[in-house]
Symmetry: C2
Subunit: 205 residues, 2 copies
Protein backbone atom coordinates (compact mmCIF):
# COMPACT_ATOMS: atom_id res chain seq x y z
CA UNK A 1 0.00 0.00 0.00
CA UNK A 2 1.28 3.44 -0.91
CA UNK A 3 0.38 6.10 1.63
CA UNK A 4 -0.04 9.77 0.88
CA UNK A 5 1.84 10.74 4.04
CA UNK A 6 4.98 9.51 5.77
CA UNK A 7 3.33 10.13 9.16
CA UNK A 8 0.41 7.86 8.40
CA UNK A 9 2.72 5.24 6.90
CA UNK A 10 4.82 5.29 10.05
CA UNK A 11 1.78 4.99 12.34
CA UNK A 12 0.30 2.13 10.29
CA UNK A 13 3.70 0.41 10.35
CA UNK A 14 3.93 0.63 14.14
CA UNK A 15 0.33 -0.35 14.85
CA UNK A 16 0.56 -3.35 12.51
CA UNK A 17 3.47 -4.70 14.57
CA UNK A 18 0.92 -5.59 17.27
CA UNK A 19 -0.09 -9.27 17.23
CA UNK A 20 -3.14 -10.09 15.11
CA UNK A 21 -3.29 -6.64 13.51
CA UNK A 22 -2.59 -6.46 9.78
CA UNK A 23 -1.98 -3.43 7.59
CA UNK A 24 -5.66 -2.93 6.73
CA UNK A 25 -6.82 -3.05 10.36
CA UNK A 26 -3.93 -0.79 11.36
CA UNK A 27 -5.04 1.75 8.75
CA UNK A 28 -8.61 1.61 10.05
CA UNK A 29 -7.41 2.23 13.63
CA UNK A 30 -5.12 5.07 12.55
CA UNK A 31 -7.91 6.75 10.55
CA UNK A 32 -10.16 6.39 13.60
CA UNK A 33 -7.57 8.27 15.66
CA UNK A 34 -7.33 10.96 12.98
CA UNK A 35 -11.10 11.44 12.94
CA UNK A 36 -11.34 11.79 16.71
CA UNK A 37 -10.23 14.53 19.06
CA UNK A 38 -6.51 15.05 19.61
CA UNK A 39 -7.06 14.10 23.26
CA UNK A 40 -8.01 10.51 22.30
CA UNK A 41 -4.67 9.94 20.57
CA UNK A 42 -2.80 11.74 23.33
CA UNK A 43 -4.23 9.66 26.14
CA UNK A 44 -3.64 6.46 24.14
CA UNK A 45 0.01 7.37 23.52
CA UNK A 46 0.45 8.50 27.14
CA UNK A 47 -1.06 5.33 28.58
CA UNK A 48 1.37 3.21 26.54
CA UNK A 49 4.38 5.33 27.48
CA UNK A 50 3.47 5.43 31.18
CA UNK A 51 2.75 1.72 31.28
CA UNK A 52 6.13 0.79 29.87
CA UNK A 53 8.02 3.38 31.95
CA UNK A 54 6.39 2.93 35.35
CA UNK A 55 5.28 -0.69 35.51
CA UNK A 56 6.80 -2.79 38.26
CA UNK A 57 6.77 -6.49 39.00
CA UNK A 58 5.85 -7.84 42.42
CA UNK A 59 9.08 -8.99 44.10
CA UNK A 60 7.15 -11.88 45.60
CA UNK A 61 5.05 -13.41 42.84
CA UNK A 62 6.19 -11.50 39.68
CA UNK A 63 2.67 -10.21 39.11
CA UNK A 64 2.38 -6.83 37.41
CA UNK A 65 2.13 -4.14 40.03
CA UNK A 66 2.21 -0.40 40.71
CA UNK A 67 4.58 -0.88 43.65
CA UNK A 68 7.19 -3.33 44.94
CA UNK A 69 4.40 -5.72 46.06
CA UNK A 70 1.24 -6.49 44.08
CA UNK A 71 -2.13 -5.90 45.72
CA UNK A 72 -2.73 -9.64 46.12
CA UNK A 73 0.54 -10.27 47.99
CA UNK A 74 0.00 -7.10 50.04
CA UNK A 75 -3.50 -8.16 51.08
CA UNK A 76 -3.42 -9.65 54.61
CA UNK A 77 -6.80 -11.35 54.03
CA UNK A 78 -5.41 -13.60 51.29
CA UNK A 79 -4.07 -17.01 52.31
CA UNK A 80 -0.28 -16.66 52.04
CA UNK A 81 0.28 -20.38 52.67
CA UNK A 82 -1.48 -21.33 49.45
CA UNK A 83 0.28 -20.54 46.16
CA UNK A 84 -1.26 -21.01 42.73
CA UNK A 85 1.38 -21.31 40.01
CA UNK A 86 0.33 -19.92 36.62
CA UNK A 87 2.07 -19.24 33.32
CA UNK A 88 1.12 -15.61 32.87
CA UNK A 89 -0.99 -12.63 33.91
CA UNK A 90 -4.17 -13.49 31.94
CA UNK A 91 -4.36 -16.73 33.95
CA UNK A 92 -4.33 -14.73 37.20
CA UNK A 93 -7.14 -12.53 35.88
CA UNK A 94 -9.14 -15.60 34.80
CA UNK A 95 -8.79 -17.28 38.21
CA UNK A 96 -9.53 -14.05 40.08
CA UNK A 97 -12.69 -13.69 37.99
CA UNK A 98 -14.01 -17.01 39.31
CA UNK A 99 -14.10 -15.59 42.85
CA UNK A 100 -13.23 -19.11 44.10
CA UNK A 101 -9.62 -18.55 45.11
CA UNK A 102 -8.30 -16.66 48.09
CA UNK A 103 -4.65 -17.70 48.09
CA UNK A 104 -1.66 -16.06 46.43
CA UNK A 105 -0.04 -16.59 43.04
CA UNK A 106 3.31 -17.24 41.47
CA UNK A 107 3.73 -16.20 37.84
CA UNK A 108 6.26 -18.24 35.89
CA UNK A 109 6.37 -15.79 33.00
CA UNK A 110 5.85 -18.56 30.46
CA UNK A 111 6.01 -22.30 30.19
CA UNK A 112 8.79 -24.79 29.39
CA UNK A 113 8.84 -25.08 25.61
CA UNK A 114 12.03 -26.39 23.99
CA UNK A 115 10.68 -25.52 20.52
CA UNK A 116 10.53 -21.84 21.46
CA UNK A 117 13.86 -22.09 23.28
CA UNK A 118 12.26 -21.58 26.71
CA UNK A 119 13.89 -23.74 29.37
CA UNK A 120 13.43 -23.70 33.16
CA UNK A 121 16.12 -21.00 33.52
CA UNK A 122 14.05 -18.49 31.54
CA UNK A 123 11.14 -18.88 33.98
CA UNK A 124 10.59 -17.65 37.54
CA UNK A 125 11.14 -21.13 39.00
CA UNK A 126 14.04 -20.50 41.37
CA UNK A 127 12.12 -17.74 43.10
CA UNK A 128 9.21 -20.16 43.59
CA UNK A 129 11.55 -22.70 45.23
CA UNK A 130 12.97 -19.90 47.43
CA UNK A 131 9.45 -18.87 48.43
CA UNK A 132 8.60 -22.44 49.41
CA UNK A 133 11.94 -22.92 51.25
CA UNK A 134 12.12 -19.64 53.13
CA UNK A 135 8.69 -18.03 53.57
CA UNK A 136 7.32 -17.72 57.06
CA UNK A 137 4.69 -19.08 57.86
CA UNK A 138 5.51 -22.12 55.75
CA UNK A 139 3.69 -22.69 52.44
CA UNK A 140 1.07 -25.46 52.79
CA UNK A 141 0.17 -26.21 49.24
CA UNK A 142 1.20 -25.38 45.68
CA UNK A 143 -1.60 -25.54 43.11
CA UNK A 144 -0.35 -25.98 39.55
CA UNK A 145 -2.77 -24.19 37.22
CA UNK A 146 -1.09 -24.70 33.86
CA UNK A 147 -2.66 -25.22 30.45
CA UNK A 148 -3.56 -28.88 29.79
CA UNK A 149 -1.04 -29.12 26.93
CA UNK A 150 2.20 -31.05 26.49
CA UNK A 151 4.21 -27.97 27.49
CA UNK A 152 1.99 -27.42 30.52
CA UNK A 153 2.39 -31.05 31.60
CA UNK A 154 6.18 -30.89 31.10
CA UNK A 155 6.38 -27.78 33.25
CA UNK A 156 4.15 -29.35 35.91
CA UNK A 157 6.34 -32.46 35.97
CA UNK A 158 9.51 -30.37 36.29
CA UNK A 159 8.03 -28.26 39.09
CA UNK A 160 6.80 -31.32 41.00
CA UNK A 161 10.32 -32.81 40.88
CA UNK A 162 11.88 -29.54 42.02
CA UNK A 163 9.38 -29.08 44.85
CA UNK A 164 9.63 -32.68 46.13
CA UNK A 165 12.59 -32.10 48.55
CA UNK A 166 10.69 -29.27 50.26
CA UNK A 167 7.87 -31.46 51.53
CA UNK A 168 5.08 -29.22 50.29
CA UNK A 169 1.75 -30.55 49.04
CA UNK A 170 1.55 -30.14 45.24
CA UNK A 171 -1.82 -30.29 43.49
CA UNK A 172 -3.10 -29.62 39.98
CA UNK A 173 -6.41 -28.13 38.90
CA UNK A 174 -9.06 -30.68 37.95
CA UNK A 175 -9.41 -31.85 34.37
CA UNK A 176 -12.59 -33.28 32.97
CA UNK A 177 -15.68 -32.47 30.99
CA UNK A 178 -16.39 -28.72 31.22
CA UNK A 179 -19.78 -27.43 32.36
CA UNK A 180 -22.22 -27.18 29.45
CA UNK A 181 -20.27 -29.56 27.20
CA UNK A 182 -21.93 -32.54 25.52
CA UNK A 183 -20.35 -35.93 26.22
CA UNK A 184 -21.01 -36.93 22.62
CA UNK A 185 -18.68 -34.24 21.33
CA UNK A 186 -16.04 -34.32 24.06
CA UNK A 187 -12.62 -35.56 22.84
CA UNK A 188 -11.76 -39.11 23.91
CA UNK A 189 -8.74 -38.22 26.07
CA UNK A 190 -10.75 -35.77 28.20
CA UNK A 191 -13.69 -38.16 28.46
CA UNK A 192 -11.44 -41.17 29.20
CA UNK A 193 -9.62 -39.21 31.90
CA UNK A 194 -12.90 -38.04 33.40
CA UNK A 195 -13.93 -41.69 33.86
CA UNK A 196 -10.58 -42.75 35.31
CA UNK A 197 -10.61 -39.78 37.72
CA UNK A 198 -14.27 -40.10 38.66
CA UNK A 199 -15.38 -38.67 41.96
CA UNK A 200 -17.43 -40.57 44.57
CA UNK A 201 -20.66 -38.75 45.26
CA UNK A 202 -21.15 -38.66 48.98
CA UNK A 203 -24.72 -38.88 50.19
CA UNK A 204 -25.52 -37.03 53.37
CA UNK A 205 -27.51 -39.08 55.84
CA UNK B 1 -11.96 -7.60 34.92
CA UNK B 2 -9.92 -6.53 37.92
CA UNK B 3 -6.37 -5.56 37.07
CA UNK B 4 -3.42 -5.80 39.44
CA UNK B 5 -2.12 -2.42 38.32
CA UNK B 6 -3.68 0.96 37.61
CA UNK B 7 -1.21 1.46 34.75
CA UNK B 8 -2.28 -1.68 32.95
CA UNK B 9 -5.94 -0.92 33.58
CA UNK B 10 -5.49 2.50 32.06
CA UNK B 11 -3.65 1.16 29.01
CA UNK B 12 -6.28 -1.55 28.45
CA UNK B 13 -9.00 1.07 28.81
CA UNK B 14 -7.41 3.34 26.18
CA UNK B 15 -6.57 0.57 23.71
CA UNK B 16 -10.08 -0.89 23.94
CA UNK B 17 -11.52 2.46 22.83
CA UNK B 18 -10.24 1.67 19.34
CA UNK B 19 -12.93 0.31 17.01
CA UNK B 20 -13.28 -3.48 16.96
CA UNK B 21 -10.97 -4.00 19.93
CA UNK B 22 -12.55 -5.40 23.10
CA UNK B 23 -11.11 -5.65 26.60
CA UNK B 24 -9.60 -9.11 26.05
CA UNK B 25 -7.85 -8.16 22.82
CA UNK B 26 -6.67 -4.91 24.41
CA UNK B 27 -5.15 -6.88 27.29
CA UNK B 28 -3.39 -9.18 24.82
CA UNK B 29 -1.94 -6.19 22.96
CA UNK B 30 -0.85 -4.49 26.19
CA UNK B 31 0.84 -7.66 27.48
CA UNK B 32 2.59 -7.96 24.12
CA UNK B 33 3.97 -4.44 24.60
CA UNK B 34 5.09 -5.32 28.12
CA UNK B 35 6.93 -8.42 26.92
CA UNK B 36 8.78 -6.56 24.17
CA UNK B 37 11.58 -4.00 24.31
CA UNK B 38 10.77 -0.54 25.64
CA UNK B 39 11.64 0.82 22.20
CA UNK B 40 8.63 -0.97 20.63
CA UNK B 41 6.20 0.82 22.95
CA UNK B 42 8.06 4.09 22.55
CA UNK B 43 7.98 4.10 18.78
CA UNK B 44 4.30 3.12 18.80
CA UNK B 45 3.41 5.96 21.19
CA UNK B 46 5.60 8.41 19.24
CA UNK B 47 4.11 7.48 15.90
CA UNK B 48 0.60 8.12 17.26
CA UNK B 49 1.58 11.43 18.85
CA UNK B 50 3.48 12.65 15.78
CA UNK B 51 0.68 11.61 13.45
CA UNK B 52 -1.95 13.56 15.32
CA UNK B 53 0.30 16.59 15.87
CA UNK B 54 1.89 17.00 12.45
CA UNK B 55 -0.63 15.66 9.96
CA UNK B 56 -1.92 18.12 7.37
CA UNK B 57 -4.68 17.98 4.82
CA UNK B 58 -4.10 18.87 1.19
CA UNK B 59 -5.66 22.30 0.58
CA UNK B 60 -6.71 21.11 -2.85
CA UNK B 61 -8.28 17.66 -2.43
CA UNK B 62 -8.38 17.18 1.41
CA UNK B 63 -6.18 14.12 1.16
CA UNK B 64 -3.91 13.43 4.12
CA UNK B 65 -0.53 14.96 3.49
CA UNK B 66 2.82 15.90 5.01
CA UNK B 67 2.67 19.39 3.48
CA UNK B 68 0.10 21.91 2.23
CA UNK B 69 -0.34 19.85 -0.97
CA UNK B 70 -0.54 16.06 -1.15
CA UNK B 71 1.89 14.20 -3.37
CA UNK B 72 -0.85 13.40 -5.90
CA UNK B 73 -1.89 17.05 -6.37
CA UNK B 74 1.78 18.11 -6.41
CA UNK B 75 2.66 15.57 -9.11
CA UNK B 76 2.77 17.34 -12.52
CA UNK B 77 2.44 13.99 -14.31
CA UNK B 78 -1.08 13.38 -12.95
CA UNK B 79 -4.02 14.59 -15.00
CA UNK B 80 -5.30 17.64 -13.11
CA UNK B 81 -8.36 17.96 -15.39
CA UNK B 82 -9.75 14.65 -14.17
CA UNK B 83 -11.06 14.47 -10.58
CA UNK B 84 -12.21 11.31 -8.86
CA UNK B 85 -14.58 12.03 -5.96
CA UNK B 86 -14.35 9.53 -3.08
CA UNK B 87 -15.76 9.34 0.43
CA UNK B 88 -12.53 8.80 2.34
CA UNK B 89 -8.82 7.97 2.34
CA UNK B 90 -9.12 4.14 2.11
CA UNK B 91 -10.94 4.62 -1.20
CA UNK B 92 -8.00 6.64 -2.55
CA UNK B 93 -5.60 3.89 -1.48
CA UNK B 94 -7.81 1.23 -3.09
CA UNK B 95 -8.01 3.11 -6.40
CA UNK B 96 -4.27 3.91 -6.37
CA UNK B 97 -3.56 0.21 -5.84
CA UNK B 98 -5.33 -0.64 -9.09
CA UNK B 99 -2.72 1.35 -11.04
CA UNK B 100 -5.50 2.27 -13.51
CA UNK B 101 -6.01 5.90 -12.60
CA UNK B 102 -3.76 8.85 -13.32
CA UNK B 103 -6.04 11.77 -12.47
CA UNK B 104 -6.46 13.61 -9.14
CA UNK B 105 -8.89 13.10 -6.27
CA UNK B 106 -11.35 14.97 -4.12
CA UNK B 107 -12.06 13.52 -0.69
CA UNK B 108 -15.52 14.33 0.66
CA UNK B 109 -14.65 13.20 4.19
CA UNK B 110 -17.78 11.04 4.40
CA UNK B 111 -21.07 10.56 2.66
CA UNK B 112 -24.53 12.12 3.00
CA UNK B 113 -26.27 10.10 5.71
CA UNK B 114 -29.26 11.73 7.46
CA UNK B 115 -29.40 8.87 10.00
CA UNK B 116 -25.88 9.74 11.21
CA UNK B 117 -26.63 13.46 11.02
CA UNK B 118 -24.26 14.03 8.10
CA UNK B 119 -25.63 16.50 5.60
CA UNK B 120 -23.94 18.15 2.59
CA UNK B 121 -22.57 20.94 4.79
CA UNK B 122 -20.47 18.49 6.81
CA UNK B 123 -18.68 17.32 3.65
CA UNK B 124 -16.04 18.91 1.43
CA UNK B 125 -18.57 19.66 -1.30
CA UNK B 126 -18.22 23.43 -1.62
CA UNK B 127 -14.49 23.11 -2.17
CA UNK B 128 -15.20 20.63 -4.99
CA UNK B 129 -17.56 23.11 -6.66
CA UNK B 130 -14.91 25.83 -6.25
CA UNK B 131 -12.30 23.57 -7.81
CA UNK B 132 -14.56 22.91 -10.79
CA UNK B 133 -15.53 26.58 -11.12
CA UNK B 134 -12.10 28.17 -10.70
CA UNK B 135 -9.29 25.76 -11.50
CA UNK B 136 -7.11 26.53 -14.49
CA UNK B 137 -6.93 24.53 -16.82
CA UNK B 138 -10.62 23.70 -16.58
CA UNK B 139 -11.69 20.36 -15.12
CA UNK B 140 -12.84 18.00 -17.88
CA UNK B 141 -14.54 15.25 -15.97
CA UNK B 142 -15.65 14.34 -12.47
CA UNK B 143 -15.71 10.60 -11.72
CA UNK B 144 -17.96 9.70 -8.78
CA UNK B 145 -16.46 6.68 -7.02
CA UNK B 146 -18.87 6.25 -4.12
CA UNK B 147 -20.05 3.05 -2.47
CA UNK B 148 -23.04 1.45 -4.27
CA UNK B 149 -25.35 2.01 -1.30
CA UNK B 150 -28.36 4.25 -0.74
CA UNK B 151 -26.16 6.87 0.94
CA UNK B 152 -23.65 6.67 -1.89
CA UNK B 153 -26.39 7.11 -4.48
CA UNK B 154 -27.93 10.04 -2.54
CA UNK B 155 -24.55 11.74 -2.40
CA UNK B 156 -23.95 11.08 -6.10
CA UNK B 157 -27.36 12.52 -6.97
CA UNK B 158 -26.73 15.63 -4.86
CA UNK B 159 -23.29 16.16 -6.41
CA UNK B 160 -24.61 15.73 -9.95
CA UNK B 161 -27.25 18.39 -9.30
CA UNK B 162 -24.68 20.76 -7.79
CA UNK B 163 -22.22 20.23 -10.65
CA UNK B 164 -24.79 20.63 -13.45
CA UNK B 165 -24.49 24.45 -13.79
CA UNK B 166 -20.73 24.17 -14.28
CA UNK B 167 -20.95 22.18 -17.51
CA UNK B 168 -18.51 19.50 -16.46
CA UNK B 169 -18.81 15.88 -17.53
CA UNK B 170 -19.91 13.77 -14.55
CA UNK B 171 -19.43 9.98 -14.61
CA UNK B 172 -19.78 7.14 -12.12
CA UNK B 173 -17.67 4.01 -11.80
CA UNK B 174 -19.16 0.92 -13.48
CA UNK B 175 -21.42 -1.43 -11.54
CA UNK B 176 -21.89 -5.03 -12.45
CA UNK B 177 -20.84 -8.57 -11.74
CA UNK B 178 -17.34 -8.51 -10.18
CA UNK B 179 -14.49 -10.58 -11.65
CA UNK B 180 -14.50 -14.13 -10.27
CA UNK B 181 -18.13 -14.01 -9.08
CA UNK B 182 -20.64 -16.68 -10.03
CA UNK B 183 -23.80 -15.48 -11.76
CA UNK B 184 -25.82 -18.06 -9.83
CA UNK B 185 -24.98 -16.39 -6.51
CA UNK B 186 -24.97 -12.76 -7.63
CA UNK B 187 -27.80 -10.71 -6.08
CA UNK B 188 -30.67 -9.94 -8.43
CA UNK B 189 -30.23 -6.14 -8.45
CA UNK B 190 -26.58 -6.37 -9.50
CA UNK B 191 -27.35 -9.02 -12.10
CA UNK B 192 -30.42 -7.16 -13.38
CA UNK B 193 -28.41 -3.95 -13.69
CA UNK B 194 -25.60 -5.75 -15.45
CA UNK B 195 -28.05 -6.87 -18.12
CA UNK B 196 -29.63 -3.43 -18.51
CA UNK B 197 -26.21 -1.79 -18.74
CA UNK B 198 -24.69 -4.39 -21.00
CA UNK B 199 -21.76 -3.42 -23.18
CA UNK B 200 -21.53 -4.08 -26.92
CA UNK B 201 -18.50 -6.20 -27.69
CA UNK B 202 -16.71 -4.66 -30.61
CA UNK B 203 -15.09 -7.09 -32.99
CA UNK B 204 -11.91 -5.89 -34.65
CA UNK B 205 -11.79 -6.55 -38.42
Amino acid sequence: MQFPSRLIENAVEEVSKLPGIGKKTALRLVLHLLKNEVSVSESLADSITNLRRDIQYCENCHNISDGPQCNICANPRRDHQLICVVADLPDVLAIENTGQYSGCYHILGGIISPIDGIGPDELNINSLIDRVACSEPKVNEIILALNPTMEGDTTAFYLTKKLQPHQVKVSAIARGVPIGAELEYTDEITLGNSILRRRIIEVEH
